[in-house]
């Protein structure tokens, strides 16, 4: 009896392992496939010979990508955007969350202010009014249109203010008694202690800026101002679907350089692919902190 059960248990464990390995493979496979295509010759890729390993290995596609000034320019704009956007967003998140983490006795209007921010999650003017606002501010074709509208990330503010609140109250009290003002208390006590929360929200903000493409498409009239993902949207995605008939899409896919697209995709994904495995633990902590709380 006991023997039988441990035998079935073993079988389950093996099946479970194989199943999860397969699922994990499915999550990785498309990226490996694209990588393999990017290192294959154009003919091999077009003939559909490439699976998970390059056929007729060549780096021609990458030479093509790095020789393209438009690609490099878009890449550089994205890097600028990540740096400027993350700096603005994180600064605002830190200083906005601090007053909101006080209770109403310490800060009378706290609840009112909190609702002013939270309401923006619940309701918005919508796509067109937001667009006309940006336009009337003269921000079209400037970096400001990409970094300012999302400057206050309300979800991050909430996450951080919850974190501030979990810190012991005595720390703040003693710092205030020692004569430190709010700014100093925030800078010397709260910010350093909330480093895990700041790392998580900071990394999410960076990834968000790196990945976003839609605002670039909306607010940039000139393609030379496109950040990388917007640029890629126009060369990788849009191209196919300009043509209405299925056969045309097919033809286009063959004519256009499949390997070159694969290389462009991979280069754009690369910064995330190298950074992500190391930061994964931060993310896990942060998500759990933000979503499962007492």
């Amino acid at each position: 009896m006991h023997n039988n059960r441990s035998w079935s248990r073993k079988l389950f464990m093996i099946c479970n392992f194989i199943f999860l390995a397969f699922i994990s493979f499915l999550c990785l496979m498309p990226i490996i496939h694209i990588l393999a295509i990017s290192f294959s010759s154009g003919q091999a890729a077009a003939a559909g010979k490439v699976l998970l390993w390059p056929v007729e290995f060549t780096t021609a596609a990458y030479q093509n990508v790095f020789g393209k000034p438009e690609y490099l320019r878009a890449f550089w704009i994205s890097i600028q955007r990540v740096i400027i956007g993350t700096t603005i967003s994180m600064t605002l998140t830190i200083i906005t969350a601090y007053p909101l983490s006080k209770d109403s006795r310490q800060f009378r209007l706290r609840t009112f202010y909190a609702w002013v921010f939270v309401f923006t999650i619940l309701f918005s003017g919508g796509l067109i009014p937001t667009y006309t606002t940006i336009k009337s501010l003269g921000m079209i074709d400037t970096m400001w249109a990409l970094v300012l509208p999302g400057g206050v990330a309300v979800f991050n503010v909430i996450l951080l203010l919850n974190f501030y609140r979990s810190l012991p109250k005595e720390l703040e009290e003693s710092s205030r008694i020692d004569g430190a003002g709010h700014f100093k208390t925030l800078w010397k006590i709260y910010a350093p202690l909330s480093l895990p929360a700041l790392a998580t929200t900071g990394l999410f903000t960076m990834v968000g800026h790196w990945n976003s493409w839609f605002d670039g498409m909306l607010y940039m009239n000139h393609t030379e101002n496109y950040p990388l993902q917007t640029f890629l949207q126009t060369v990788i995605v849009k191209l196919d679907f300009r043509f209405i008939k299925a056969e045309n899409v097919e033809l286009m896919l063959k004519l256009s350089d499949r390997t070159s697209r694969a290389a462009q995709i991979f280069v754009a994904a690369f910064p995330i692919l190298i950074v992500y495995p190391f930061l994964q633990r931060f993310f896990i902590k942060g998500i759990v902190m933000g979503s499962v709380k007492e």
Partner: protein, 301 residues
């Protein structure tokens, strides 16, 4: 007056800290809300909000008469609801299965891998998906052809498109959800399992009677919070993957507003559609927050 002055003296640094954030929110969130007036105007960009003529509810009337509008709403809800359900079941299942693994590093490796697609943008993933799903040279159709199945044009076929959206969305996001459920699993008291073991309950019975009930609060929480997303079927994904032949099954409110508003410059009409969506979403999100508070005692701050 004296009280107010004292309060100000004590609290002014806090107000100062909020000021930059408030200014941004006022400009980029509240000011556009005034632009909702456009929904009641025949908006002419050169004349602006003040100069454009008011036409009352005409835009909303047009909306009701618009031939595709019913299908657009139905598509939105259909795709969103399927995503919510699949996006609940898959991560829960994977979390339970991952939890059964003994070796910590194996668990962590799998977790890292399934979490990866979440970090890539829909632009990149669309590029990858278009390639993989292509009927002539795509790897998926090549595999299917081994089994004698004729090539399927997944992204160009109305019968397939919504399911491709749901499956690819689950593929991208389930790793993210899994982490939340795994966290809930570690919170279950191990002595419950020991007790069950002594009572002779097998592994499967333990999952059914301990693991699932233990996860219930977080499952209910996630479900209630998702109610707010019923009108968000995933603009970025669909916009990057759809094409005119599949508008019939793929068009959602957000893509519809984009095409009408931005591409065809029907500002007033598109704003009316957007306003309708905002109002309904507002109701759903508010309801979901209230429910989450009542049922799962969840508060946002």
């Amino acid at each position: 007056m004296n009280v107010l002055a004292r309060m100000w003296k004590r609290e002014w640094p806090l107000h100062m800290m909020l000021l930059p954030g408030l200014i941004l929110v006022l400009i980029f969130s509240y000011y556009p809300m005034a632009g909702i007036i456009m929904a009641f105007q025949k908006y002419i960009p050169n004349k602006g909000l003040i100069g454009s003529p008011f036409i009352g509810m005409r835009n909303f009337q047009l909306l009701m008469e618009y031939p595709d509008i019913g299908r657009v709403f139905l598509n939105t809800i259909y795709i969103a609801v399927m995503k919510i359900i699949a996006g609940l079941i898959v991560p829960i299942t994977i979390a339970i299965l991952l939890n059964e693994l003994r070796k910590e590093w194996v668990k962590r490796t799998f977790q890292t891998l399934v979490y990866l697609p979440h970090f890539l943008s829909w632009v990149l993933l669309s590029g990858i998906l278009v390639d993989i799903l292509s009927p002539s040279s795509g790897i998926l159709n090549q595999v299917l052809s081994i089994f004698g199945i004729k090539p399927i044009f997944f992204l160009g076929d109305n019968a397939w498109f919504p399911y491709v959206m749901v499956i690819s969305d689950v593929w991208k996001e389930f790793g993210f959800g899994t982490i939340v459920y795994l966290a809930a699993l570690t919170g279950i008291n191990p002595s419950l399992y020991e007790a069950a073991e002594i009572d002779g309950a097998g592994r499967f019975k333990q999952i059914l009677n301990i693991t699932l009930p233990g996860m219930m609060p977080i499952i209910i929480l996630m479900l209630t919070l998702n109610i707010g997303n019923v009108l968000n079927a995933g603009f970025e994904q669909i916009f990057n993957l759809y094409s005119p032949p599949v508008y019939e099954s793929a068009d959602i409110i957000d893509t519809f507003v984009y095409r009408l508003g931005v591409q065809q410059a029907q500002f007033g009409f598109a704003t009316a559609v957007g306003l309708l969506k905002s109002i309904v979403s507002f109701i759903f999100i508010s309801v979901s927050y209230v429910l989450a508070y009542r049922i799962a005692n969840y508060r946002i701050f």
